[in-house]
Amino acid sequence: MKKILPYLSVVLLLMTFTGFAQQKYITKNGEINFEASVPSFEEVKAKNSTVSAILNADTGEFASLALIQGFRFKVALMEEHFNENYMESSQYPKAIVKGTLEGFSMDGLSESTTEYSFKGTITVHGESQPLETIVTMAMIDGNVEMNSSFILKPEDFNIKIPSIVSNKIADEVTVTAIYTLSEK
């Protein structure tokens, strides 16, 4: 018994290490664009190119975090209103997506794009909603390229748009996400 114990502890230790040795792909420079423009009015469009994301290549679990202050608009006043009045970014500084790519496996990735369905939740303005979308993925130069586009409605996230500007902002916001994830 005495002799077995050290072996057992070594085996257990090795098992915990393999548990940690999951393959992860990460980025800190992902890009999210959104547009809520209405034709013939001022363009309502912003871009955030400091979005973080992690993909667990073994399980297909994916998480992404965007800082609301990181969204840049062409018009400074629009950016100010976006932060102060609509997103209330001092109170809710981040938007988070968490979920799983269904049926994901690293072996399925190649230079040509493969589609996966993503199921998870999105949290914006402190409100969580289910999110289902199609993600196109490809493996290019050892990096995982991920692209997705989906539509969000401000009202689902308790974001109130005053009636005076509501005809200048679309009810449906088109969000596009682009990630180039490299192995950690």
């Binding site: 973080s52 006043l77 500084p93």
Partner: protein, 125 residues
Amino acid sequence: MKKKSVFMIVTLVLVVGAYSGYRYLYKDHRNIAEEDAVFTGTAQQIQERFAQGEGDGLLNQTVIVSGTVSQVEEGSVTLDEKVQSVFAQMPSVSEGAQVTVKGRCIGYDDLFEVVKLDQSQLTTQ
């Protein structure tokens, strides 16, 4: 004569009003480079502040952070694995260099436990 001066005044008010309205709607973005920093310190210090949940006062504020470059990526530099600084114009720096950056603090990223800055530039201060 009186009619004419009233007309002149009304026109002037309209022009000034339209101009200031335009200036308000289409004002320039902030110039972070010229703003005074509300925080000056090391990457470690600012990260700890956010990790302890006391960083809210720094959101959207201009900060000056110094540290050692731990990672160089396209468009951004990470200091001591604690602060990611995004540059509009990427300077030529290499890993291991001791630098000081001035930028706008946009918040704390819990995924990687880094504080993010944008509109950064290298500074000698």
